[in-house]
Symmetry: C2
Subunit: 136 residues, 2 copies
DNA sequence: GCTGATCGTCAGTAGTGCTGACTATCTGCT
DNA sequence: AGCAGATAGTCAGCACTACTGACGATCAGC
């Protein structure tokens, strides 16, 4: 049967999740992907673009567009790394930090609601199983 | 943390699965998506394009391209439905059936190998959890 | 027999993700 | 010191997927 196929399940679960989290993030004018970028960049140390790209698992050329978009919305700033002038260190702006905090909040709530069919223990199980598969 | 985010997990698990199953299907000259279409069309009754699209959860305009591709490979045939001439009933060719059988075999094996980190019981759990989320 | 709905098709658009080429810069070796 | 090769970011271009909106052909209900 089709519904046994892992590919089918993953695709449609992801599609549905993207839709639901996208809806609650829309008022903040960020997408789920952009919020993920902010999350990675929101750490204590400013990261170069490729470091952030590696953490996110996206290509470095894709990161250019992502940072472009966030910079256009004044959520991040590119600053040359004084220690290595090939690099841009990407810093969150004040607004970027606000959006990160508020976005994380509504995103977490939307994800929890999306998983309403499962209890807390089952959610942990699901994530743990997926993580183990990913580590091959 | 990023690795707690369901979106991240789903995306990368799916990406990795697509890559792995795609590799074993390549010698048969079909993609995972195309095999899924063959699976849906391989039932006892020939389906119209939109019935198949609904089962797969894809758009009807996307189904046009999928059937085009399969027809180009001589795996399916469009035949007008005598009872409703707006419809195309999509039939598998003899080769289409062979590819479906062989493709299902290697795909199932690749999926099992992809999930090598989990035992049979955990695989059932994972699929069951995803199915329940999908039913909202 | 006409109105409105449905099926398949096509053009156009948008998002994502990659390759390959380029510039600027750094690092290692001699 | 100086050159060769590697690395960071950028950009153009291609490919894949998915959707919207429009269209002609056909069907179903009144």
């Amino acid at each position: 049967m089709l519904h046994d196929r892992l590919g089918y399940l993953l695709k449609h679960v992801q599609l549905s999740l993207t839709e639901q989290t996208g809806a609650v993030l829309a008022p903040l004018d960020v997408t789920g992907r952009e919020l993920a970028v902010l999350t990675v960049l929101g750490g204590p140390e400013a990261l170069a673009q490729q470091q952030a790209a590696a953490k996110l698992g996206v290509d470095r050329t894709t990161m250019v567009d992502l940072v472009d978009a966030l910079q256009g919305k004044q959520l991040v700033e590119r600053r040359p790394d004084p220690a290595d002038r090939r690099r841009n260190l990407v810093h969150l702006t004040e607004r970027g930090r606000q959006v990160l905090v508020e976005g994380s909040r509504v995103h977490a709530r939307a994800e929890r609601e999306f998983l309403a069919a499962l209890d807390e223990d089952e959610i942990r199980q699901l994530k743990s199983l997926l993580q183990r598969v990913l580590k091959e």
